[in-house]
Amino acid sequence: MDYIAVVGGGIAGMEAAAQLKALGLEPVLIERSEALGGHVASWHCLFPDLTPADKLIKDLESRLEGVDIQLGAEVSTLNPLRKGYSVVLSNGKVYPCRAIVLATGFTLFPAQRKEEYGYGIYDHVITNRDLEGWFGGNGDSRVPESPKAVGFVHCVGSRDIKAGNAQCSKVCCITAIKQAIEMKERFPGAEIYCFYMDLRLFGKKYEDFYIRAQRDCGIHFIRGRVSEVAETIDGRVQVKAEDTLSGKPIKVRLDLLVLMAGIVCNPDSEQFSKAVSMPLDDDGFFRSRNNIGDITRSDRPGVFLAGACTGAKTVPETLAEARSAALNVYQYLKGQK
């Protein structure tokens, strides 16, 4: 039997596998962790409608009936064949595949690399992912019981050439606004600050969300990058920044600081790019054949791309690309016959 390897069991891989199955093909969904869902599975709810993330994952899972799912398995080797690829997994299984859908996603920027923000050093500095875990009910001693002041630092490791990532991570602005609103709703008495350099609110309902944050929640939006973070004697977090709109330096003391860690390429991209002789883009993500009309095709025959493995994507974009990649595979195989 000829398979279609779908590498990566996040929402892109799940959706692509479900679509391939629906098109009558035989996808094998390969995920190195023990569960499907990728980054979204560690999120509590999604902007802009605060949809529970686990609902999306369950919906996607329900459509995977009959799909060969290989959990806890990594691609060990990927050998080109005359027609397709031989995919060898770390669990010893070998799949002859007519095509491959790479849905390897992204990785979050390691926030500790922005040393001045003190992640991993100061007791009350966390990341966007940590906060989602806390929203989802995971206890986190770094989040105080009743914070009086909370700050969000946008663009941590995004649009930052010195940090090695010049690209915008696209979803952090709206995620920060979502998380700020959620914190305000949980702690109505708390002052919430968002330190941003630009607000990029391009999606449907995003602007409404932003207005709600300002008008209904009284969240303070401060245009200026945080220069340094320190810890006070009572264990709070002192943040220094410049308010570039008023032209003044500011210093605030917070009970919790949340770093909006950006989206960077998955380190595995290089391994796959070598295995299939497919060059990576300048930003380390996979390079699409064409960034306008052919975003889900690669330059290599039989290799397709879905979701955030080509760059930062929202959930709806990721799902749309996964469907597109599945359709591309179907057409590719049809053309081969």
Binding site: G120, A230, I233
Partner: protein
């Protein structure tokens, strides 16, 4: 505070510091400010720990102060530095150790600039040849003298007569460390521990038994800031920066401050007098200030050097409360004795700041 987080960063920023054979260049101003410091750097490294440190009377300023004050162009500073390198080359050394933080920053910046723009290095070589017929090799290693003392900190600890411990309570002394801005803020990988959490001084404090205080304005400028002080009209900025630091460290009740820059200990020391006069406020116990020491002075103290030989009487803030806490013996009668026990004039005492 998560100490392991800092340790992780420290492990990322460890620079190679050769153990021996250094060409030493002094600071322009430290011999006036803290005259015992450079002398005891040489004494500790050479006489006590047996290292080969060479210096020549022919070396000059590195031009760093003039460069940072915009009074000379960088090419001039580069040519001055090239001459220092020529002296090092002529003396047969490859490792350069600087007393001054700004010099360290200046040398590092110049070498990095030459690495990026080799044509500029070629032009400076030509300038130097035209000016004084000298040639040079660039140093294999450039270190600040505090890097070297950091490397030798455990040897110093092994020979220490005193530890940074309160002899009455047995508790470690609480030490504020202040790193000169030009040490690693420009090139984090050139400093031990990087730019945000340098461990060059905290490593010494740990090794000698003290406890380092991390306070909110730890990274803030000491107040020197070159043009903040050197332009007379700006001196209000200078003292207000120092004031901000002291207000921030005050709740931690530090016993002393350790520094590695020529300017920092001067301003952290002298401005305590000015703040006391202006605000009526002092930051030590019972009207005293917080002693601001150089790392050589602190090393000298733990090694049992007489405080007056180290030049601690030159400080505005009296070191006596610190010496008493550690249990260091000193003779108040000899505080203002000069060389050959010649009596120096006793300074007038300030109105507010208690100076023993």
């Amino acid at each position: 505070m998560i100490y392991q987080g800092k340790q992780k960063i420290w492990s990322d920023y460890q620079k190679e510091i050769p153990d021996n054979h250094w060409f030493y260049v002094r600071s322009c101003i430290r011999q006036s400010f803290f005259p015992g410091s450079e002398k005891y750097f040489l004494k500790i490294c050479r006489d006590m720990l047996g290292r080969d440190i060479y210096e020549t009377e022919h070396h000059t300023t590195c031009g760093g102060i003039a460069y940072h004050c915009d009074t000379i162009p960088q090419e001039t500073a580069m040519t001055i530095v090239a001459r220092q390198f020529a002296l090092m080359t002529e003396a047969g050394y490859e490792n350069l150790v600087t007393s001054c933080i700004t010099s360290f920053g200046n040398y590092t910046e110049i070498l990095e600039t030459w690495r990026e723009f080799p044509e500029l290095e070629a032009r400076i070589r030509e300038n130097l040849w035209k000016a004084c017929k000298r040639e040079f090799k660039t140093p294999k290693y450039v270190a600040h003298a505090s890097d070297l003392v950091y490397k030798l900190r455990n040897e110093i600890a092994a020979r220490a007569k005193y530890r940074l411990v309160n002899k009455e309570t047995g508790e470690p002394l609480r030490i504020v460390e202040h790193i000169g801005c030009h040490y690693s803020k420009m090139f984090p990988h050139k400093g031990v521990g990087g730019a945000e959490y340098p461990c060059v001084l905290s490593g010494m404090v740990d090794a000698w038994g003290g406890e380092v205080i991390d306070y909110p304005e730890r990274r803030h400028c000491c107040g020197f800031g070159f043009r903040q002080y050197l332009v007379k009209a700006n001196r209000g900025y200078s003292v207000s920066n120092t004031h901000k630091k002291f207000e921030s460290m005050e709740p931690y009740h530090p016993d002393a401050i350790i520094t590695n820059c020529p300017g920092c200990p001067f301003f952290l020391d002298r401005w305590q007098y000015v703040i006391a006069e202006m605000e009526g406020k002092t930051y030590g116990k019972d009207g005293h200030g917080i002693p601001a020491l150089t790392y050589e002075e602190l090393a000298g103290l733990v090694l049992g050097v007489d405080p007056w030989d180290l030049g601690l009487q030159i400080h505005q803030v009296g070191p006596e409360p610190l010496l008493d806490k550690i249990g260091i013996a000193y003779d108040p009668a000899h505080k203002y004795d000069g060389l050959d026990e010649k009596a120096l004039k006793k300074p007038g005492l300030p109105n507010v700041l208690k100076c023993c």
